[in-house]
Symmetry: C2
Amino acid sequence: MDEKTRQALLDIVGEENFTENIIDLVSYTYDASSYEHRPDCALWAISTEQVSRILSMANEKGIPVTPRGAGTGLGGLAVPARGGIVLDVTRMNSILEICIPDRLAVVQPGVVYADLQSALAPYGFFFPPDPASGVVCTLGGNVATNAGGLHAVKYGTTRDYVLCLEAVLASGEVMRVGARTMKTSSGYDLCRFLVGSEGTLAVITEITLKIAPQPSHRATALAVFHKLEDAGQAVTRVMHSEVTPSVLELLDGSVISLLREHAHLDLPEVEALLLVETDGMTESYVRFQLTKIAEMFRGCNAAEVEVAATMREAELLWKARKSIGGMMGAIHLDYAPEDITVPMSQIATFLRRSEELSRVHGLDLFNFGHAGDGNLHTNILYDGKDPDQVARLEPLLYELHKLACDLGGTLSGEHGIGMTKAKYMPLEHDPTALKTMRKLKQALDPNNILNPGKMMLPG
Amino acid sequence: MDEKTRQALLDIVGEENFTENIIDLVSYTYDASSYEHRPDCALWAISTEQVSRILSMANEKGIPVTPRGAGTGLGGLAVPARGGIVLDVTRMNSILEICIPDRLAVVQPGVVYADLQSALAPYGFFFPPDPASGVVCTLGGNVATNAGGLHAVKYGTTRDYVLCLEAVLASGEVMRVGARTMKTSSGYDLCRFLVGSEGTLAVITEITLKIAPQPSHRATALAVFHKLEDAGQAVTRVMHSEVTPSVLELLDGSVISLLREHAHLDLPEVEALLLVETDGMTESYVRFQLTKIAEMFRGCNAAEVEVAATMREAELLWKARKSIGGMMGAIHLDYAPEDITVPMSQIATFLRRSEELSRVHGLDLFNFGHAGDGNLHTNILYDGKDPDQVARLEPLLYELHKLACDLGGTLSGEHGIGMTKAKYMPLEHDPTALKTMRKLKQALDPNNILNPGKMMLPG
């Protein structure tokens, strides 16, 4: 970066919001993926005007700009793949407005997901997407990846909650898109078009989110299935019914074994567990729903269905699901965490075939995830220091993503494409769809300065 | 249209699907708006391949193509504003698949909304958006306008249900966008980008819709408010609560008077009625929700809250709301039916100010609509044969749309922009947002052949 550019950036953000320190740049080299690339400098923008001036200058000089929130993404979205500037928005972290009568909240992109939840809780409201990294991840990142989580089966993903955005285009021009209303049919939906665009079309500087009343009651059950196919049938039975659970999680036989061995949990030797939660405004209603689901599970050969009578018992049922993260630490292996999503009817088929692929490629894997919306977390275990295992990883990943697409699924349910899945894009999207994405990118960012090197886009 | 072009079109669709008959062309001159323009010919496409060949040729020759479903739109979206070809998709009317385990249905664009509902009913499922014209309107039009209706307060609009689309671009190239899954974060969301794009970006040839289980129980109440502001406060109270009603409709004092006079209904002389419905899986739960809402209404000075004990009583409570359409026929006046939408907290303010504007401009109006999502149907009454009244109409419409935007609202909640609201676009959208819409249009349809003359886009 030439001295004139450096000075201009310093003038925009001030010394306290500019860094070229090697220790800072190393931190900005990676996110939660396995990709790395060092930027030339990093800036903390603290206003929309600063973002506008930065982009305007970068666009003129052709400098890549990678927007970044908390860097918790698993797809390499926040890795500055082409160097240049990392634009950190975590200091734009104000909750600007909470308006309960209009059921919305207005936030800056650097607000942490959990901080919004805390601010909404006194009103009895929440922002439902619930990404697993909620305690640290930022809402700007949630919008950029269309983040989702445990409750998507009933409440949908971030996309379903973004009402308006303020965004800065590559040119530095600022626009407001969407409407502060529950409905709009006014012009192109630029707002939802930016959701999930991974910082490649604009930098988001303000977000208006729809919020929902927090259900006051919930009920939990855990079911054990000797056969994976019976668990798949149980999911299908639930989908046929009037009940939409608020959580429907699946753990496969491999992860159950690993939890027994490494997390020392007293779990049965079975092929599947289903964890289910219902929610609503009354105790009797959540019990009514849960009883219906428990009956369906039993009708699909569940060996056991345990219904929690108390919150404490519910926590015990959640224990296996919540121990997966900690267990991964105890295994002392590397792992590739995926977020393949398939139609709900294809879950059992996907899991069986992923077992076969695991055997063929000689790498262990396990699956857990959101059975209620088809979003599975396939985790491949490998030793990153063993070149032979590393060499087998990529072909297995390719086959798993191909399998998901062949079953009518999608490459990513909630992490985004970024760098990790860019090469798989043609497995899901036809050549015309890919060409259309590139044309739209070209229309809004002709110099490819916004987060280049992602999503198989030019730049 | 030159003879060569005419022959080429005949070759593509066959004689039975081509018309230049004056009586047909007159039918295709208008939709449910007040705009008119005659096309050069009309075609019924019966396959994606035909649509592709038609667009490819039209693009080469620069012939405008206006896609059309049932023509029930109120925004002039289906009026061939620049002549050329009307592309009627009503003969592409097959329901291709209903897959309950995956909670989706795949349809052609010409399927009538009500026909899909009938096909889903035996499974206990439904497609929730519920546009008022559901008995005749087509699903392609629902997608093109992002249609909504009475139940959007709880169930959202068409956008929330479109999972995948097959679409033909102006070039004739066919693409599939979206995913057959409940979640996806894979590349740009071209699917939702096409929803609400009014046939200006692509012609939709296949639609995959998310479907929902039909609640088995519902409960209805009607509340009477002497003061409009109390009704507004009642809506705010509901928004603050845990309850999300499945219907929350408002009728203002003017429409109540008109219903008394022209539909001979026995209604009180009050400033507002609120009609509310709750739904769910059990009788006790829908009653629980309705009781909560009735309490809130009483706490906001409702003069009376009538709760239906039976289906028959519920029908009586619905009578006022359902009589509005018929009443309009009895009035023997022209009317401009709007679909302005404001944040829910601004409903009472909008209604008071719209009364003032009505007085200032000397034209009567009345309001009813979806208070639960802020979508109001403001209807201005005028005599189309009186040039003085006609001259006053446009300034009043402008002021109403400006008022909605000033209150944080949107020009259209469910009808779309088309021709009727094109001129108001700058009231809602800033210059950069408008420029961005034009750039995206330019990127996908550089020759402006797709539905030109709409939405303030070029062409």
